[in-house]
Protein backbone atom coordinates (compact mmCIF):
# COMPACT_ATOMS: atom_id res chain seq x y z
CA UNK A 1 0.00 0.00 0.00
CA UNK A 2 1.04 3.59 -0.57
CA UNK A 3 2.21 5.49 2.50
CA UNK A 4 -0.31 7.71 4.26
CA UNK A 5 -0.60 9.56 7.54
CA UNK A 6 -2.99 8.36 10.22
CA UNK A 7 -4.95 10.35 12.78
CA UNK A 8 -7.80 9.52 15.08
CA UNK A 9 -10.87 11.76 15.41
CA UNK A 10 -12.02 12.27 19.00
CA UNK A 11 -15.54 13.41 18.24
CA UNK A 12 -17.68 14.50 15.29
CA UNK A 13 -16.56 18.14 15.53
CA UNK A 14 -12.93 17.02 15.54
CA UNK A 15 -13.53 14.80 12.51
CA UNK A 16 -15.06 17.70 10.56
CA UNK A 17 -12.20 19.98 11.58
CA UNK A 18 -9.59 17.45 10.51
CA UNK A 19 -11.18 16.73 7.11
CA UNK A 20 -11.60 20.45 6.39
CA UNK A 21 -7.91 21.00 7.16
CA UNK A 22 -6.72 18.39 4.63
CA UNK A 23 -8.66 18.01 1.35
CA UNK A 24 -6.62 14.95 0.36
CA UNK A 25 -7.54 13.10 3.57
CA UNK A 26 -10.29 10.53 3.85
CA UNK A 27 -12.35 9.20 6.70
CA UNK A 28 -11.98 5.53 7.52
CA UNK A 29 -14.45 3.47 9.54
CA UNK A 30 -14.83 -0.24 8.69
CA UNK A 31 -12.27 0.04 5.91
CA UNK A 32 -13.72 -2.91 3.98
CA UNK A 33 -13.94 -0.93 0.75
CA UNK A 34 -11.46 1.91 1.26
CA UNK A 35 -8.47 -0.28 2.19
CA UNK A 36 -9.19 -2.48 -0.81
CA UNK A 37 -9.30 0.58 -3.08
CA UNK A 38 -6.02 1.86 -1.63
CA UNK A 39 -4.42 -1.53 -2.32
CA UNK A 40 -5.51 -1.20 -5.97
CA UNK A 41 -4.25 2.43 -6.16
CA UNK A 42 -7.79 3.56 -6.97
CA UNK A 43 -7.91 5.73 -3.85
CA UNK A 44 -4.74 7.56 -2.87
CA UNK A 45 -5.38 9.45 0.34
CA UNK A 46 -2.44 11.20 1.98
CA UNK A 47 -4.08 10.87 5.39
CA UNK A 48 -6.70 8.61 6.92
CA UNK A 49 -8.84 10.06 9.68
CA UNK A 50 -10.05 7.19 11.85
CA UNK A 51 -13.69 7.77 12.78
CA UNK A 52 -14.31 4.19 13.91
CA UNK A 53 -14.13 5.17 17.59
CA UNK A 54 -16.69 7.99 17.40
CA UNK A 55 -19.62 7.51 19.78
CA UNK A 56 -22.12 6.82 16.98
CA UNK A 57 -22.93 3.21 17.85
CA UNK A 58 -26.43 3.33 19.27
CA UNK A 59 -29.73 2.15 17.80
CA UNK A 60 -32.56 4.07 19.43
CA UNK A 61 -36.25 4.59 19.01
CA UNK A 62 -37.09 8.19 18.08
CA UNK A 63 -39.83 10.30 19.69
CA UNK A 64 -41.92 9.88 16.52
CA UNK A 65 -41.75 6.09 16.63
CA UNK A 66 -38.95 5.61 14.11
CA UNK A 67 -35.43 4.37 14.72
CA UNK A 68 -32.15 6.30 14.70
CA UNK A 69 -29.11 4.21 13.76
CA UNK A 70 -25.64 5.56 14.57
CA UNK A 71 -23.30 5.72 11.57
CA UNK A 72 -20.68 3.51 13.26
CA UNK A 73 -23.07 0.63 14.02
CA UNK A 74 -21.55 -2.46 12.37
CA UNK A 75 -23.73 -4.10 9.71
CA UNK A 76 -24.19 -7.29 11.77
CA UNK A 77 -25.23 -5.36 14.89
CA UNK A 78 -27.85 -3.59 12.84
CA UNK A 79 -29.17 -6.72 11.12
CA UNK A 80 -29.34 -8.67 14.41
CA UNK A 81 -30.82 -5.87 16.53
CA UNK A 82 -34.17 -7.10 17.93
CA UNK A 83 -35.96 -3.89 16.92
CA UNK A 84 -34.68 -4.16 13.35
CA UNK A 85 -35.40 -7.89 13.06
CA UNK A 86 -38.92 -7.39 14.36
CA UNK A 87 -39.99 -4.07 12.87
CA UNK A 88 -37.76 -3.71 9.79
CA UNK A 89 -37.02 -7.28 8.65
CA UNK A 90 -36.63 -6.05 5.05
CA UNK A 91 -33.56 -4.10 6.17
CA UNK A 92 -32.21 -7.04 8.20
CA UNK A 93 -32.57 -9.42 5.24
CA UNK A 94 -30.98 -6.99 2.81
CA UNK A 95 -27.96 -6.49 5.07
CA UNK A 96 -27.53 -10.24 5.56
CA UNK A 97 -27.68 -10.72 1.78
CA UNK A 98 -24.55 -8.63 1.28
CA UNK A 99 -20.85 -9.46 1.71
CA UNK A 100 -19.65 -12.09 4.20
CA UNK A 101 -20.05 -12.27 7.96
CA UNK A 102 -16.43 -11.12 8.40
CA UNK A 103 -17.07 -8.01 6.32
CA UNK A 104 -20.48 -7.36 7.90
CA UNK A 105 -18.76 -7.44 11.31
CA UNK A 106 -16.37 -4.74 10.12
CA UNK A 107 -18.47 -2.53 7.84
CA UNK A 108 -20.22 0.50 9.32
CA UNK A 109 -23.73 1.69 8.55
CA UNK A 110 -22.49 5.02 7.19
CA UNK A 111 -19.72 3.40 5.20
CA UNK A 112 -22.15 1.04 3.52
CA UNK A 113 -23.78 4.09 1.89
CA UNK A 114 -20.41 5.38 0.74
CA UNK A 115 -18.98 2.21 -0.76
CA UNK A 116 -17.99 2.64 -4.35
CA UNK A 117 -18.93 0.76 -7.48
CA UNK A 118 -17.39 -2.63 -8.27
CA UNK A 119 -17.32 -1.87 -12.01
CA UNK A 120 -14.28 -3.77 -13.33
CA UNK A 121 -12.90 -0.68 -15.03
CA UNK A 122 -13.19 1.53 -11.96
CA UNK A 123 -10.85 -0.95 -10.25
CA UNK A 124 -8.51 -1.36 -13.22
CA UNK A 125 -6.23 1.69 -13.23
CA UNK A 126 -4.81 0.69 -16.63
CA UNK A 127 -8.13 1.55 -18.29
CA UNK A 128 -10.03 4.82 -18.73
CA UNK A 129 -12.85 5.43 -16.23
CA UNK A 130 -14.74 8.68 -15.82
CA UNK A 131 -15.56 7.88 -12.21
CA UNK A 132 -11.91 7.34 -11.32
CA UNK A 133 -10.37 9.85 -13.75
CA UNK A 134 -13.01 12.37 -14.88
CA UNK A 135 -12.84 12.99 -18.61
CA UNK A 136 -10.84 9.86 -19.41
CA UNK A 137 -13.83 7.98 -20.88
CA UNK A 138 -15.97 4.98 -19.97
CA UNK A 139 -14.48 1.57 -20.76
CA UNK A 140 -17.59 -0.33 -19.73
CA UNK A 141 -20.02 1.07 -22.32
CA UNK A 142 -18.26 -0.81 -25.14
CA UNK A 143 -16.48 -3.26 -22.86
CA UNK A 144 -17.33 -6.17 -20.62
CA UNK A 145 -20.50 -4.74 -19.12
CA UNK A 146 -22.40 -7.77 -17.84
CA UNK A 147 -22.50 -6.37 -14.28
CA UNK A 148 -23.28 -2.79 -15.27
CA UNK A 149 -26.36 -0.60 -15.10
CA UNK A 150 -29.44 -0.63 -17.33
CA UNK A 151 -31.30 2.30 -15.74
CA UNK A 152 -30.37 5.95 -15.21
CA UNK A 153 -27.10 5.59 -17.07
CA UNK A 154 -25.27 8.35 -18.93
CA UNK A 155 -22.77 8.48 -21.76
CA UNK A 156 -20.13 9.04 -19.10
CA UNK A 157 -20.83 6.09 -16.79
CA UNK A 158 -22.85 2.88 -16.50
CA UNK A 159 -21.63 1.85 -13.04
CA UNK A 160 -23.98 0.40 -10.42
CA UNK A 161 -24.13 1.05 -6.70
CA UNK A 162 -23.16 -2.23 -5.03
CA UNK A 163 -25.05 -2.06 -1.71
CA UNK A 164 -27.88 -4.34 -0.63
CA UNK A 165 -28.57 -2.42 2.57
CA UNK A 166 -29.18 0.78 0.61
CA UNK A 167 -31.86 -0.88 -1.52
CA UNK A 168 -33.87 -1.61 1.63
CA UNK A 169 -33.16 1.85 3.08
CA UNK A 170 -34.44 3.40 -0.15
CA UNK A 171 -37.62 1.30 -0.04
CA UNK A 172 -38.18 2.23 3.60
CA UNK A 173 -37.79 5.98 2.93
CA UNK A 174 -34.89 6.38 5.34
CA UNK A 175 -33.25 9.74 6.07
CA UNK A 176 -29.51 10.37 6.23
CA UNK A 177 -28.26 12.63 9.03
CA UNK A 178 -25.03 14.43 8.22
CA UNK A 179 -22.86 17.03 9.92
CA UNK A 180 -20.43 19.54 8.47
CA UNK A 181 -18.76 22.88 9.17
CA UNK A 182 -22.10 24.65 8.61
CA UNK A 183 -23.90 22.39 11.08
CA UNK A 184 -26.14 19.35 10.80
CA UNK A 185 -28.64 18.60 8.03
CA UNK A 186 -30.73 15.68 6.80
CA UNK A 187 -30.91 14.22 3.30
CA UNK A 188 -33.82 12.08 2.10
CA UNK A 189 -32.49 8.70 1.05
CA UNK A 190 -33.72 9.16 -2.52
CA UNK A 191 -31.60 12.34 -2.76
CA UNK A 192 -28.48 10.92 -1.15
CA UNK A 193 -27.02 8.95 -4.05
CA UNK A 194 -26.71 10.56 -7.47
CA UNK A 195 -27.15 9.41 -11.03
CA UNK A 196 -23.88 9.58 -12.98
CA UNK A 197 -24.80 12.31 -15.50
CA UNK A 198 -21.67 14.23 -16.45
CA UNK A 199 -20.14 13.94 -12.98
CA UNK A 200 -19.86 10.21 -12.28
CA UNK A 201 -16.93 10.91 -9.96
CA UNK A 202 -19.54 12.11 -7.44
CA UNK A 203 -21.44 9.17 -6.02
CA UNK A 204 -23.47 11.11 -3.46
CA UNK A 205 -24.64 14.56 -2.44
CA UNK A 206 -22.57 14.45 0.73
CA UNK A 207 -20.12 17.36 0.67
CA UNK A 208 -16.41 16.53 0.96
CA UNK A 209 -16.23 18.09 4.44
CA UNK A 210 -19.37 16.41 5.73
CA UNK A 211 -19.74 13.21 7.74
CA UNK A 212 -22.69 10.85 8.07
CA UNK A 213 -23.75 10.68 11.72
CA UNK A 214 -26.91 8.54 11.57
CA UNK A 215 -29.61 6.91 9.46
CA UNK A 216 -33.21 7.41 10.51
CA UNK A 217 -35.98 4.95 9.73
CA UNK A 218 -39.57 6.19 9.70
CA UNK A 219 -42.07 4.31 11.92
CA UNK A 220 -43.46 2.17 9.10
CA UNK A 221 -41.45 -1.04 8.63
CA UNK A 222 -43.79 -3.24 6.54
CA UNK A 223 -42.90 -6.23 8.73
CA UNK A 224 -45.91 -8.32 7.63
CA UNK A 225 -45.49 -8.19 3.85
CA UNK A 226 -41.96 -7.77 2.57
CA UNK A 227 -39.24 -9.64 0.72
CA UNK A 228 -35.67 -9.06 -0.42
CA UNK A 229 -34.63 -11.18 -3.38
CA UNK A 230 -31.05 -11.08 -4.61
CA UNK A 231 -30.00 -12.73 -7.86
CA UNK A 232 -26.26 -13.31 -8.28
CA UNK A 233 -23.71 -15.54 -9.98
CA UNK A 234 -23.23 -17.74 -6.91
CA UNK A 235 -25.58 -18.42 -4.03
CA UNK A 236 -23.82 -16.32 -1.43
CA UNK A 237 -21.10 -13.71 -1.07
CA UNK A 238 -21.44 -12.08 -4.47
CA UNK A 239 -22.73 -8.73 -5.65
CA UNK A 240 -26.23 -8.56 -7.05
CA UNK A 241 -26.88 -8.84 -10.74
CA UNK A 242 -30.38 -7.77 -9.80
CA UNK A 243 -31.93 -7.40 -6.37
CA UNK A 244 -35.45 -6.40 -5.40
CA UNK A 245 -36.78 -4.95 -2.16
CA UNK A 246 -40.55 -5.14 -1.97
CA UNK A 247 -42.86 -4.01 0.83
CA UNK A 248 -46.63 -3.99 0.78
CA UNK A 249 -49.46 -2.91 3.02
CA UNK A 250 -52.52 -5.01 2.27
CA UNK A 251 -56.22 -4.80 3.06
CA UNK A 252 -57.32 -8.34 2.36
CA UNK A 253 -55.77 -8.86 -1.05
CA UNK A 254 -55.99 -5.21 -2.05
CA UNK A 255 -52.78 -3.17 -2.07
CA UNK A 256 -52.98 -0.08 0.14
CA UNK A 257 -49.34 0.91 -0.07
CA UNK A 258 -46.38 -0.40 -2.03
CA UNK A 259 -42.64 0.13 -1.96
CA UNK A 260 -40.36 -1.27 -4.60
CA UNK A 261 -36.63 -0.73 -5.08
CA UNK A 262 -34.04 -2.37 -7.29
CA UNK A 263 -30.35 -2.97 -6.68
CA UNK A 264 -27.63 -3.91 -9.14
CA UNK A 265 -29.21 -2.05 -12.04
CA UNK A 266 -28.37 1.63 -11.53
CA UNK A 267 -25.99 4.15 -9.99
CA UNK A 268 -28.34 4.27 -6.99
CA UNK A 269 -31.18 2.16 -5.57
CA UNK A 270 -33.86 2.43 -8.24
CA UNK A 271 -37.42 3.44 -7.36
CA UNK A 272 -40.30 4.79 -9.38
CA UNK A 273 -43.31 6.59 -7.94
CA UNK A 274 -45.30 5.55 -11.02
CA UNK A 275 -44.56 1.87 -10.37
CA UNK A 276 -45.67 2.12 -6.75
CA UNK A 277 -48.73 4.20 -7.62
CA UNK A 278 -49.72 1.62 -10.24
CA UNK A 279 -50.09 -0.97 -7.48
CA UNK A 280 -52.40 1.11 -5.26
CA UNK A 281 -55.93 -0.23 -5.00
CA UNK A 282 -55.07 -3.24 -7.16
CA UNK A 283 -55.50 -6.88 -6.29
CA UNK A 284 -52.13 -8.29 -5.24
CA UNK A 285 -51.68 -10.62 -8.21
CA UNK A 286 -49.21 -11.35 -10.99
CA UNK A 287 -50.98 -9.03 -13.44
CA UNK A 288 -50.58 -6.04 -11.15
CA UNK A 289 -47.00 -7.01 -10.31
CA UNK A 290 -46.07 -7.28 -14.00
CA UNK A 291 -47.53 -3.82 -14.62
CA UNK A 292 -45.50 -2.40 -11.76
CA UNK A 293 -42.39 -4.10 -13.17
CA UNK A 294 -43.02 -2.43 -16.54
CA UNK A 295 -43.26 0.95 -14.85
CA UNK A 296 -40.16 0.42 -12.74
CA UNK A 297 -38.15 -0.72 -15.77
CA UNK A 298 -39.45 2.03 -18.02
CA UNK A 299 -36.56 3.35 -20.13
CA UNK A 300 -34.23 0.47 -19.26
CA UNK A 301 -31.42 0.10 -21.77
CA UNK A 302 -28.89 -2.70 -22.07
CA UNK A 303 -25.32 -2.29 -23.28
CA UNK A 304 -24.80 -5.75 -24.74
CA UNK A 305 -23.63 -8.16 -22.08
CA UNK A 306 -26.09 -6.80 -19.53
CA UNK A 307 -29.22 -6.92 -21.71
CA UNK A 308 -30.34 -9.97 -19.73
CA UNK A 309 -30.75 -7.84 -16.61
CA UNK A 310 -33.92 -6.22 -17.93
CA UNK A 311 -35.83 -9.47 -18.32
CA UNK A 312 -34.29 -10.86 -15.16
CA UNK A 313 -35.35 -7.78 -13.21
CA UNK A 314 -38.90 -8.00 -14.57
CA UNK A 315 -39.27 -11.61 -13.41
CA UNK A 316 -37.53 -10.90 -10.10
CA UNK A 317 -39.91 -8.00 -9.37
CA UNK A 318 -42.96 -10.20 -9.97
CA UNK A 319 -41.51 -12.98 -7.80
CA UNK A 320 -40.53 -10.65 -4.96
CA UNK A 321 -43.88 -8.86 -4.87
CA UNK A 322 -45.54 -12.28 -4.80
CA UNK A 323 -43.40 -13.36 -1.87
CA UNK A 324 -44.23 -10.11 -0.06
CA UNK A 325 -47.96 -10.49 -0.73
CA UNK A 326 -47.96 -14.08 0.57
CA UNK A 327 -46.02 -13.05 3.66
CA UNK A 328 -43.31 -15.52 2.69
CA UNK A 329 -40.08 -13.54 2.27
CA UNK A 330 -37.12 -15.04 0.43
CA UNK A 331 -35.08 -17.24 2.78
CA UNK A 332 -31.44 -16.30 3.33
CA UNK A 333 -30.27 -19.90 3.66
CA UNK A 334 -32.69 -21.87 1.46
CA UNK A 335 -31.83 -20.40 -1.91
CA UNK A 336 -34.74 -21.83 -3.84
CA UNK A 337 -36.93 -19.00 -5.10
CA UNK A 338 -40.50 -19.92 -4.28
Amino acid sequence: MIPFQYARANDVADAIKQIAADPSAKFIAGGTNLIDLIKYDVEEPTRLIDISHLPLRSIEQTSTGGVLIGAMVPNTDLAYHPMIEERYPLLARAIMSGASQQLRNMASTGGNLLQRTRCFYFYDTATPCNKREPGSGCSAIDGVNRINAVLGTSQACIATHPSDMCVALAALDATVHVAGPAGARTIAFADFHRLPGNTPQRDTNLEPDEIITAIELPPKGFSANYSYLKIRDRLSYAFALVSVAAALELDGDTIKEARLALGGVAHKPWRSSAAEAALLGKRADATAFAQAADWLLHGAKGYGHNNFKIGLARRAIVRTLGQAARGMPQSLSDKKIR
Partner: protein, 171 residues
Amino acid sequence: MARSGTAKRVTRTASVPEKIPIRLTVNGNQMELRVAPWTTLLDALRDHLDLTGTKKGCDHGQCGACTVLVDGRRISSCLTLAVMKEGAEIITIEGLARDGVLHPLQQAFIDQDAFQCGYCTSGQICSGVGLLAEGKARTPNEIRELMSGNICRCGAYPNIVAAILQAMERS
Protein backbone atom coordinates in the same frame (compact mmCIF):
# COMPACT_ATOMS: atom_id res chain seq x y z
CA MET B 1 -16.45 5.50 5.97
CA ALA B 2 -14.77 6.77 2.85
CA ARG B 3 -15.52 10.25 1.67
CA SER B 4 -17.70 10.10 -1.34
CA GLY B 5 -17.18 11.86 -4.56
CA THR B 6 -14.12 13.21 -6.22
CA ALA B 7 -11.68 10.48 -7.09
CA LYS B 8 -9.33 12.86 -8.86
CA ARG B 9 -5.65 12.30 -8.36
CA VAL B 10 -4.02 14.39 -5.70
CA THR B 11 -0.37 15.28 -5.94
CA ARG B 12 1.17 13.35 -3.11
CA THR B 13 3.23 15.67 -0.97
CA ALA B 14 3.00 13.86 2.35
CA SER B 15 6.30 12.67 3.73
CA VAL B 16 6.56 9.07 4.83
CA PRO B 17 5.12 9.07 8.32
CA GLU B 18 6.66 7.71 11.47
CA LYS B 19 5.77 4.29 12.72
CA ILE B 20 3.11 4.34 15.39
CA PRO B 21 3.39 2.43 18.67
CA ILE B 22 0.40 0.21 19.40
CA ARG B 23 -0.61 -2.31 22.03
CA LEU B 24 -2.54 -5.45 21.15
CA THR B 25 -3.53 -8.44 23.23
CA VAL B 26 -2.78 -11.39 20.98
CA ASN B 27 -3.83 -14.85 22.15
CA GLY B 28 -3.81 -13.56 25.72
CA ASN B 29 -0.38 -11.95 25.52
CA GLN B 30 0.15 -8.20 25.73
CA MET B 31 2.14 -7.12 22.70
CA GLU B 32 3.72 -3.77 21.97
CA LEU B 33 4.81 -3.06 18.44
CA ARG B 34 5.54 -0.17 16.12
CA VAL B 35 3.77 -0.26 12.80
CA ALA B 36 3.43 1.99 9.78
CA PRO B 37 -0.14 3.34 9.39
CA TRP B 38 -0.69 1.18 6.29
CA THR B 39 0.34 -2.07 7.98
CA THR B 40 -2.62 -4.42 7.97
CA LEU B 41 -3.43 -6.49 11.02
CA LEU B 42 -2.60 -9.52 8.86
CA ASP B 43 0.91 -8.25 8.12
CA ALA B 44 1.40 -7.18 11.74
CA LEU B 45 0.54 -10.70 12.91
CA ARG B 46 2.65 -12.51 10.33
CA ASP B 47 5.64 -10.20 9.85
CA HIS B 48 5.91 -8.40 13.20
CA LEU B 49 4.72 -11.09 15.61
CA ASP B 50 5.74 -14.20 13.62
CA LEU B 51 2.24 -15.64 13.93
CA THR B 52 2.16 -17.16 10.48
CA GLY B 53 -0.82 -19.44 11.13
CA THR B 54 -3.04 -16.69 9.77
CA LYS B 55 -2.75 -16.90 6.00
CA LYS B 56 -2.65 -14.31 3.26
CA GLY B 57 -4.84 -15.59 0.45
CA CYS B 58 -6.29 -12.89 -1.79
CA ASP B 59 -5.33 -9.91 0.45
CA HIS B 60 -8.59 -8.26 -0.69
CA GLY B 61 -11.22 -9.59 1.72
CA GLN B 62 -12.59 -12.09 -0.78
CA CYS B 63 -11.28 -15.46 0.43
CA GLY B 64 -11.39 -15.51 4.24
CA ALA B 65 -7.94 -17.13 4.72
CA CYS B 66 -6.90 -14.20 6.95
CA THR B 67 -9.90 -14.49 9.31
CA VAL B 68 -9.08 -13.79 12.96
CA LEU B 69 -11.22 -12.89 15.96
CA VAL B 70 -11.07 -9.28 17.14
CA ASP B 71 -12.84 -8.67 20.44
CA GLY B 72 -14.63 -11.97 19.88
CA ARG B 73 -15.81 -11.31 16.31
CA ARG B 74 -14.51 -12.79 13.10
CA ILE B 75 -13.07 -10.21 10.72
CA SER B 76 -10.81 -10.10 7.67
CA SER B 77 -7.38 -9.07 8.97
CA CYS B 78 -6.19 -8.13 5.46
CA LEU B 79 -8.68 -5.24 5.31
CA THR B 80 -7.96 -4.06 8.85
CA LEU B 81 -5.27 -1.52 9.72
CA ALA B 82 -3.31 -2.58 12.79
CA VAL B 83 -3.24 1.01 14.13
CA MET B 84 -7.04 1.05 14.21
CA LYS B 85 -7.09 -1.94 16.59
CA GLU B 86 -5.04 -0.34 19.36
CA GLY B 87 -6.05 -1.99 22.63
CA ALA B 88 -8.05 -4.77 20.96
CA GLU B 89 -8.04 -8.43 21.88
CA ILE B 90 -6.99 -10.64 18.95
CA ILE B 91 -7.33 -14.41 18.77
CA THR B 92 -5.57 -16.27 15.96
CA ILE B 93 -5.42 -19.96 15.13
CA GLU B 94 -2.38 -20.20 17.43
CA GLY B 95 -4.52 -19.09 20.38
CA LEU B 96 -7.40 -21.55 20.16
CA ALA B 97 -5.91 -24.60 21.88
CA ARG B 98 -5.95 -24.61 25.69
CA ASP B 99 -3.20 -26.34 27.72
CA GLY B 100 -2.25 -28.56 24.82
CA VAL B 101 -5.87 -29.55 24.11
CA LEU B 102 -7.23 -28.58 20.73
CA HIS B 103 -10.29 -26.34 20.50
CA PRO B 104 -13.36 -28.51 19.86
CA LEU B 105 -13.60 -27.11 16.33
CA GLN B 106 -9.93 -27.88 15.61
CA GLN B 107 -10.55 -31.45 16.79
CA ALA B 108 -13.71 -31.62 14.68
CA PHE B 109 -11.77 -30.56 11.56
CA ILE B 110 -9.43 -33.52 12.15
CA ASP B 111 -12.28 -35.92 12.98
CA GLN B 112 -14.26 -34.94 9.89
CA ASP B 113 -11.29 -34.67 7.51
CA ALA B 114 -12.31 -31.07 6.83
CA PHE B 115 -9.23 -29.96 4.90
CA GLN B 116 -6.96 -31.05 2.10
CA CYS B 117 -4.16 -28.60 1.33
CA GLY B 118 -4.84 -26.74 4.58
CA TYR B 119 -4.18 -23.21 3.33
CA CYS B 120 -7.68 -21.96 4.10
CA THR B 121 -8.02 -24.01 7.29
CA SER B 122 -6.92 -21.51 9.94
CA GLY B 123 -9.31 -18.97 8.43
CA GLN B 124 -12.08 -21.57 8.23
CA ILE B 125 -11.58 -22.54 11.88
CA CYS B 126 -11.39 -18.96 13.19
CA SER B 127 -14.48 -18.13 11.13
CA GLY B 128 -16.24 -21.23 12.49
CA VAL B 129 -15.35 -20.25 16.07
CA GLY B 130 -16.89 -16.85 15.37
CA LEU B 131 -19.97 -18.53 13.91
CA LEU B 132 -20.39 -20.72 17.00
CA ALA B 133 -20.14 -17.66 19.25
CA GLU B 134 -22.76 -15.80 17.20
CA GLY B 135 -25.24 -18.61 17.74
CA LYS B 136 -27.24 -17.79 14.61
CA ALA B 137 -26.61 -20.87 12.47
CA ARG B 138 -28.43 -24.08 13.35
CA THR B 139 -28.88 -26.02 10.12
CA PRO B 140 -26.35 -27.06 7.44
CA ASN B 141 -27.88 -24.50 5.07
CA GLU B 142 -27.45 -21.76 7.67
CA ILE B 143 -23.85 -22.84 8.29
CA ARG B 144 -23.15 -22.72 4.55
CA GLU B 145 -24.63 -19.24 4.29
CA LEU B 146 -22.74 -17.84 7.28
CA MET B 147 -19.46 -19.51 6.23
CA SER B 148 -19.64 -18.16 2.67
CA GLY B 149 -16.83 -15.70 3.39
CA ASN B 150 -14.36 -18.58 3.54
CA ILE B 151 -13.36 -20.10 0.22
CA CYS B 152 -11.81 -23.60 0.03
CA ARG B 153 -10.36 -24.25 -3.40
CA CYS B 154 -9.86 -27.95 -2.58
CA GLY B 155 -13.63 -28.12 -2.12
CA ALA B 156 -13.71 -29.57 1.40
CA TYR B 157 -17.00 -27.81 2.05
CA PRO B 158 -19.17 -30.83 2.99
CA ASN B 159 -16.64 -31.90 5.62
CA ILE B 160 -16.22 -28.34 6.89
CA VAL B 161 -19.99 -28.16 7.45
CA ALA B 162 -19.83 -31.57 9.19
CA ALA B 163 -17.00 -30.33 11.44
CA ILE B 164 -18.92 -27.23 12.46
CA LEU B 165 -22.03 -29.35 13.15
CA GLN B 166 -19.92 -31.66 15.31
CA ALA B 167 -18.50 -28.77 17.32
CA MET B 168 -21.97 -27.25 17.63
CA GLU B 169 -23.44 -30.48 18.99
CA ARG B 170 -20.66 -30.95 21.51
CA SER B 171 -20.67 -27.38 22.86
